[in-house]
Amino acid sequence: MENGRDDGRTPNQLRPLACSRSILHRAHGSASWCQGDTKVLAAVYGPKAGTKKNENPEKACIEVIWKPETGQIGKAEKENEMILKRTLQSICILTINPNTTTSVIIQVVNDDGALLVCAINAACAALVDAGIPLKHLAVAICCCLAKDGHVILDPTKSEEQKMKGFAYLVFPNSVLSALTEGSVAKGELMEHGIITSVTQGVISVEDYFKCLDRGRAASSKLSDFLRRSLKLQLPSDLSKVG
């Protein structure tokens, strides 16, 4: 019994994904994202008039508010807020609505591993739902490195604790374009570049590259799922664009 995981998945298998949009009535955009038992709700308000603190005459501002499942916000949540904010800033076209603030509120419903990844995917779907102009989508994936050196994807919380190290990776989604050269930069596909990388635990550099490869491969599957679930709710006349 090789690479057996507690829930019987293969190392590369993700947990069942679920995404639904427009679930909150008052928010300008909202989405819930589930990966197995990890569930995150995201709501987007904005663009609204910039608050004094975040005012920038040249760029739109994004603020992220992270609400944990229970209790007060701590250092870990602050870090998640910062990572999420920087990640969303890099996919939004900030020059379109200068001097405005867009609030992204993340409510953790249940944490069973790969929480930050789940939150990034939820936030991305909520931004689409709110109609915020984006350059491309972001797909996030969690890769774990087990003690014996093999890589597993999308760990549960109990798996996360047993691992030698893990990496949260965010990739741009694969681009569907009539122009083939458009997505190629320096001989590498755009979706091969990483937007965000956060790692924990001591691993060798080669193992990190192994995680990157696996993450990239899985991100295309995730990207297809995201595209499909966003398409479903679009009006029929727009479905060609998606």
Binding site: K78, I83, T196
Partner: protein, 303 residues
């Protein structure tokens, strides 16, 4: 007139400082195309780095690290506590990073800096996951008493690459740390002794004699790089960080394993070649920093 596209023509007519302020990206691109930075560094070179151990007299271990003008003061205070039941033979380390208003114009008095808790978390993740300190060495009596090391890092001058300087100062403070001698009183309390002679006078053996320094292995060292177009700039200043926003922090330990590869978003995507270049630059930097640390430690032993 005044549009960024016109700036190319203005550069010859304008004062350099004015041009730098008005067209920062053009100013930097002109330098980068010649593979040089405004402070006359090549792209891959870090600023001058110094580490001084024992900067604060009233604590058990301290260090002052400077990378260029970024200055960090780290201090460790040791306290005795009861270890938690899950790990009765381990002490603990609490890391706090402070950004007082003195360090940078972006920090206002009364409002805590946004970056401070994030850096605290990043530092404690790095220091604890690297296994640099064996927490078992901080144990005094199994299940009864262990050391709690309070590590406070103060940023005195924030001029870019804060994480690198903070990590270096933390490592310096741990290398300088002298664990105080303690003894057990008759009613089961732990008291800190000023020196070992005192304990003989009291007729009690100190609990932890002869273990005054921590063994530090697999020391993590970090390098922050900026990715901008096809350029990679090592060890950015605050000005560079504000203009070119994509930061990558690589932490490698002394045996060249990856402790952290941290890229929180940013407009530039990191491709394989850039990742490999950042790791290679960090490898070189680890050697430099190791030398600086060794010199600081040996300098302290001479005193």
């Amino acid at each position: 007139m005044g549009l960024p596209s016109d700036s190319g023509d203005l550069s010859s007519e304008m004062d350099v400082d004015a041009y730098r302020r008005l067209f920062p990206t053009h100013f930097y691109e002109k330098h980068l195309s010649l593979s040089i930075r405004p402070d006359s560094r090549p792209l891959g070179k870090a600023r001058d780095t110094t580490l001084a151990l024992g900067a604060v007299g009233s604590v058990d271990g301290s260090a002052l690290a400077k990378i260029g003008s970024t200055t960090m003061l780290a201090a460790i205070k040791m306290e005795v506590m009861t270890p938690c039941t899950e790990s009765p033979n381990e002490g603990s380390i609490v890391i706090e990073f402070h950004m007082p208003p003195i360090c940078s114009p972006i920090v206002r008095p009364g409002r805590p800096a946004e970056a401070a808790p994030v850096l605290s978390k990043q530092l404690s993740d790095t220091i604890l996951s690297s296994g640099m300190i064996n927490l078992k060495e901080l144990c005094l009596i199994h299940g009864k008493a262990a050391w709690m090391a309070y590590l406070d890092i103060y940023c005195l001058d924030a001029d870019g690459a804060l994480f690198d300087a903070a990590l270096l100062s933390a490592i310096g403070a741990f290398s300088h740390l002298q664990i105080p001698t303690v003894s057990l009183t008759d009613n089961g309390k732990i008291v800190v002794l000023l020196d070992e002679d005192e304990s003989r006078k009291l007729g009690k053996e100190p609990v932890n004699s002869g273990k005054k320094k921590l063994t530090i292995n697999n020391i993590p060292f970090s390098l922050t790089c900026i990715l901008y177009k096809n350029y990679i700039l090592a060890d950015p200043t605050a000005e560079e960080e504000s203009i070119m926003e994509t930061l990558v922090t690589v932490v490698l330990d002394s045996s060249a394993r990856l402790v952290s590869f941290y890229k929180p978003g940013g407009p530039v995507l990191a491709y394989m070649s850039a990742i490999q270049d950042c790791v290679a630059l960090t490898r070189q930097r680890v050697k430099e920093l190791q030398k600086i640390l060794d010199e600081a430690v040996s300098g302290m032993e001479v005193d």
